[in-house]
């Protein structure tokens, strides 16, 4: 577990974009959105500078040079939050939570390579970061679902673990939790990508024990104290797919909900990896609709050989629009 002390670039990105939440203090109205930050980062790159340069004491010239893309006063107010930064970093640190920025060498390459500017500028986490580079099977589904589907999902997680593949999921109740439980129970490795409440979830006893055993890493693009929002949950789906080499959707609504949106985005647009849908048990309109969009039926693999075949199917559609993105992580 690492990523602290923070690099100067990580400090700068935190100051510019992160809410730095402690208690219920009001958030700064000046925070840069991901889009605004990307714009500033590009501008700095063109100037031959980097975010950390904004923190060298009293560099008035650089602030003025950023005026065309970002209000000088707003930037000044953001980077002067240094003491607040030290407060939250200390809090994370004492709870074994790390943070890294897109500018850091440890930042998972597959996220940067696959998501480009959509890669979260900051990644918070608790647990062994090496698990983030291991790829594996993503399992997603809606929160509410029935018992047989939960068992099916646990079995899928279990199989991934027995085949030595990492399980990537969302850490929400229902499907996500079942997949992760199945994998952990079989001694497998798990990446949980959270949309909210990293601090609380990391301290939960069952998670804490798996983290200590280096089986589980919990990560989130959002502040460890952030609460649930629909927007975050949607954005988080991108990260789940980007960290995996194949995905299984076990349940989904049609035309609504985060699971649907995330799967459709993969099938129609990003095409980072093969997407499977559950093929046995109770039928589902959502899954049928995904099939129509090109999702593959889960072939219910029974052993490691069959399971491995899932990761290199013969019939994945070639990338349509984002030609420059590679299908599998570059080395």
């Amino acid at each position: 577990m690492m990523a602290l002390p923070l690099s100067p670039n990580a400090q700068a990105i935190l100051l510019l974009t992160a809410p730095l939440m402690v208690g219920h203090a009001p958030l700064s109205p000046d925070l840069l959105t991901p889009g605004e930050y990307n714009c500033l980062a590009r501008h700095l790159r063109e100037l031959g500078r980097q975010p950390a340069d904004l923190l060298s004491s009293d560099d008035g010239d650089l602030f003025r040079a950023c005026q065309p893309v970002m209000d000088e006063g707003r930037l000044g107010r953001l980077v002067r939050r240094g003491f607040l930064l030290s407060q939250v970093v200390e809090r994370w640190e004492s709870r074994a939570i790390w943070v890294m920025s897109r500018a850091d060498a440890e930042y998972p390459r597959r996220l940067k390579g696959r998501l480009r500017e959509d890669a979260p500028p900051l990644l918070y986490g608790c647990g062994d970061i090496r698990l983030l580079t291991s790829g594996g099977l993503a399992v997603v589904g809606s929160r509410q679902t029935n018992h047989p589907v939960i068992e099916y999902t646990m079995a899928a997680g279990n199989l991934a673990a027995r085949c030595g593949r990492t399980l990537v999921s969302g850490g929400a109740k229902g499907i996500d939790q079942a997949a992760m439980d199945g994998a952990l129970a079989a001694g497998g490795n798990v990446v949980g990508v959270l949309a909210d409440s990293l601090e609380k979830v990391a301290l939960k006893r069952e998670n804490r024990n798996s983290i200590v055993e280096e089986q589980l890493v919990l990560i989130s693009p959002y502040d460890p104290c952030a609460g649930f929002t629909v927007g975050h949950a949607m954005q988080r789906n991108k990260v789940i797919y980007a960290l995996a080499d194949a995905a299984l959707v076990v349940s989904s609504d049609v035309n609504k909900g985060g699971t649907w949106a995330g799967a459709v985005e993969q099938l129609d647009k990003l095409r980072l990896l093969p997407v499977y849908v559950r093929s046995t048990g109770e039928s589902s309109k959502g899954l049928d609709a995904l099939r129509e969009k090109g999702a593959l039926p889960w072939p219910n693999p029974q052993d490691a050989g069959e399971f491995e075949a899932l990761f290199s199917p013969t019939m994945v559609n070639p990338p349509a629009t984002q030609g420059s993105l590679s299908l599998f992580p570059e080395k």
Binding site: V22, H24, A25, R80, Q87, E90, A96, A202
Partner: protein, 692 residues
């Protein structure tokens, strides 16, 4: 930001109240360095040099340019009060949030919110407080423009008074971005501490360092093993010393005892300790304006206390390290040509510093017990809940939690009011540091004993060398040595004084958390079933009667008639009302006759009847082997019973026991007696159990 020299000087002159004041060596450079944002600065200058002018003037200048307020972290409350007044004179709006001014918190917060405060002063403990951080500081943390760390040597593991909460400060500093202004100050830092500070505060740290030699101080050491001899020396010499000063003791109890003795000899002195409460400010003022000859103080009278004409600092016992001694003695003679720094060295000081050294860190057993208790509770535990599960004292549990939670990463964290295990394990580095610090404390203790043995005239040179200063400018002491002998008659009177005192103790008013299930009681104890305030003759093993009690308990299995006489004398002076009409005692299965025999003899000497009415129903471990109040309460639950057919008398009574520790035994016995119809119950104990 540009520095304004004239404005700065004007502030100095207003603040010092002297129109012709000029900056001291290094002062203006330091202010300029901070204001211009040239990087982190460490100022190593003796108290009285004027470090506060540096940060107050800097804070004021920063504010005038529209920057946010400054935050000052200092372990010293007395310093804060004095400084807030000084800041006020300069038009710097200073405020403090500490455990003594809870009622002002919301006002301070509101003023902060309105941007009406220029500098906020808080303690490192406050900074570590979860509630304070999440509910108060979080709202303003984003605007802080300057962080001032006072007593910065505490950051260093090699500092002479390592304070656990500075570990937190160290981590905060490490994650501060370089654009945040940071000033660290200390009066003393040897080379090792400086190197440590540089590694925490950054390689580009600028250091401003002054001279350590104090030519106005006449240092002297006098060995007087017994407390009575030292009391006699103080009684004889205090009147001959010019001016006003401080007498330092190692413990609160010593401060009170020494002050009591000196008052009884007609000296105008007062005790000043961490337990003095809200009267502390008044006492500081009294010394400042020479209304007392001396304050008899623990180190609660802190480093920041500034009385330039303080004429003497006498130590009743040797402190644990040369740096601590230098800082305390160095408070004398700042603005005088000559002043005394006299160290009286006594036999108990090694035991006391040993105790401080040993108790600085929790033991592996204590840590394992606490972690195991937390391991079993996925939802976490509060401190009282931990107390109910592990046989470790409350103070030790709190120390364990404080130290472990300051580790990075910490094996436990406080979520709301409960402690929970985190995803981190306690590193072996924790124990290595504990061992290293313990070894360092031993070396410091030895160095201090070396200092005690020095001949007159060599002390200042020794101190300056020990602190890595330049001893070449050290001059001979300006004053003649004080007498090193004491009058035997005064020593005898001091012995009598030490034996005279009884110690009052208050009754418990509430049953333990969870009540006493076997007795079926919980919550508050009914008014009519409470014990009255009690008295203990001594402290177990201490000077005075403590030694006799210890011998009676463990060697003779009999309490001497001198103890009976001493109790009679104490009870005569105490004279509780309504005065008891009979005597009973606490039973024991371990030594069935020891206490009843003593109580019967005491009753005879008082001319009161003695009756046995209480019995021990089953054998339990001694109360003093129970480490905290919850464990002691559980140990006593159901173990005492009322055994007489009826109460022999209804009037008030003395309830006698040999030791009082948690007070649960007295509480339960009083409740039994009163619920069987007795009058008021006045507890009497031969001794109070030891420290904590």
């Amino acid at each position: 930001m540009t520095y304004q020299s004239e404005k700065s000087l004007e502030l100095l002159r207003i603040g010092s109240g002297s129109p012709g004041a000029r900056f001291r060596d290094g002062q203006e450079e330091a202010i300029r360095h901070i204001v211009e944002g040239r990087g982190r600065l460490l100022v190593v200058q003796s108290t009285g040099w004027g470090k506060s002018f540096v940060y107050f003037i800097a804070a004021r200048l920063l504010r005038e340019e529209g920057n946010g307020p400054a935050l000052l972290i200092s372990p010293l409350l007395s310093l804060m009060r004095n400084q807030i007044a000084a800041a006020h004179r300069m038009g710097v709006r200073a405020a403090t949030i500490n455990s003594d001014n809870l009622d002002e918190w919301s006002d301070v917060e509101e003023r902060f919110g309105k941007n009406e405060i220029d500098i906020l002063l808080i303690s490192p403990e406050r900074l570590a407080n979860e509630r304070f951080r999440t509910q108060v500081l979080a709202r303003i943390a984003g605007q802080i423009s300057l962080l001032v760390i006072d007593e910065a040597h505490c950051i260093s593991d090699w500092g002479h008074d390592f304070r656990p909460h500075y570990r937190l400060l160290e981590r905060i500093v490490r994650s501060l971005p370089p654009n945040l202004r940071l000033l660290a100050t200390t009066a003393t830092a040897n080379n090792r501490v400086l190197a440590d500070l540089a590694s925490v505060l950054g390689p580009r740290l600028e250091v401003s360092r002054g001279d350590l030699n104090r030519s106005s101080l006449s240092l002297q050491t006098i060995s007087l093993p017994s407390q009575a001899e030292r009391l006699a020396w103080l009684a004889e010499q205090l009147g001959t010393l010019q001016g006003h000063g401080i007498i330092y003791t190692l413990t609160v109890r010593d401060a009170e005892q020494v002050a009591g003795w000196l008052k009884s000899r007609g000296h105008v002195v007062e005790a000043y300790t961490g337990q003095t409460g809200p009267g502390r400010e008044e006492l500081e003022e009294a010394l400042l304006h020479n209304r007392v000859k001396a304050l008899v103080a623990t180190t609660a009278l802190g480093m920041g206390y500034d009385k330039p004409d303080l004429a003497f600092v006498v130590h009743y016992q040797s402190p644990g390290s040369v740096v601590a001694y230098y800082q305390q003695a160095g408070r004398a003679g700042r603005a005088l040509n000559a002043a005394y720094g006299v160290l009286l060295s006594g036999e108990e000081e090694t035991n006391i510093t040993d105790w401080f050294i040993k108790s600085a860190f929790p033991s592996r057993r204590e840590v394992a017990a606490v972690l195991e208790a937390l391991e079993k509770e996925p939802d976490g535990l509060s401190v009282p809940e931990i107390m109910a599960r592990v046989n470790v004292s409350k103070g030790r549990i709190e120390k364990t939690m404080a130290l472990l939670s300051l580790e990075s990463p910490a094996p436990m964290a406080k979520q709301g009011h409960k402690w929970q295990l985190t995803a981190a394990k306690l590193s072996e580095g924790f124990w290595e540091r504990a061992e290293r610090l313990t070894a360092l404390r031993r070396t410091e203790q030895e160095q201090m004993q070396e200092y005690v043995r020095l001949p007159f005239g060599e002390h200042m040179g020794f101190l300056v060398r020990a602190l890595d200063g330049d001893p070449s400018g050290v001059t001979p002491p300006p004053l003649a040595p004080l007498p090193t002998t004491v009058d035997e008659g005064v020593v005898r009177e001091a012995v009598a004084y030490l034996c005279r005192d009884g110690l009052p103790f208050e009754p418990r008013k509430k049953w333990p958390d969870g009540g006493m299930p076997q007795y079926g009681v919980k919550g508050f104890i009914a008014q009519g079933h409470l014990a009255q305030p009690g008295r203990a003759l001594s402290i177990l093993g201490d000077a005075g009667w403590g030694g006799d009690v210890g011998r009676g308990r463990s060697l003779d299995l009999h309490f001497s008639h001198e103890l009976v006489d001493a109790c009679v004398k104490m009870m005569g002076e105490w004279n509780p009302q309504t005065y008891p009409t009979w005597v009973t005692c606490i039973p024991s299965l371990r030594h069935p006759d020891l206490v009843p025999d003593f109580a019967r003899r005491l009753a005879d000497a008082l001319g009161l009847p003695f009756h046995v009415v209480l019995a021990k129903t089953n054998h339990r471990p001694e109360q003093k082997t129970m480490a905290n109040s919850s464990q002691q309460a559980r140990n006593i639950d159901g173990s005492l019973a009322f055994c007489a057919p009826r109460l022999p008398r209804r009037g008030p009574l003395f309830l006698v026991d040999d030791l009082v520790d948690s007070r649960w035994t007295f509480t339960v016995a009083s409740w039994l007696l009163r619920s069987h119809g007795s009058g008021e119950v006045w507890p009497v104990a031969l001794a109070q159990a030891g420290r904590e």
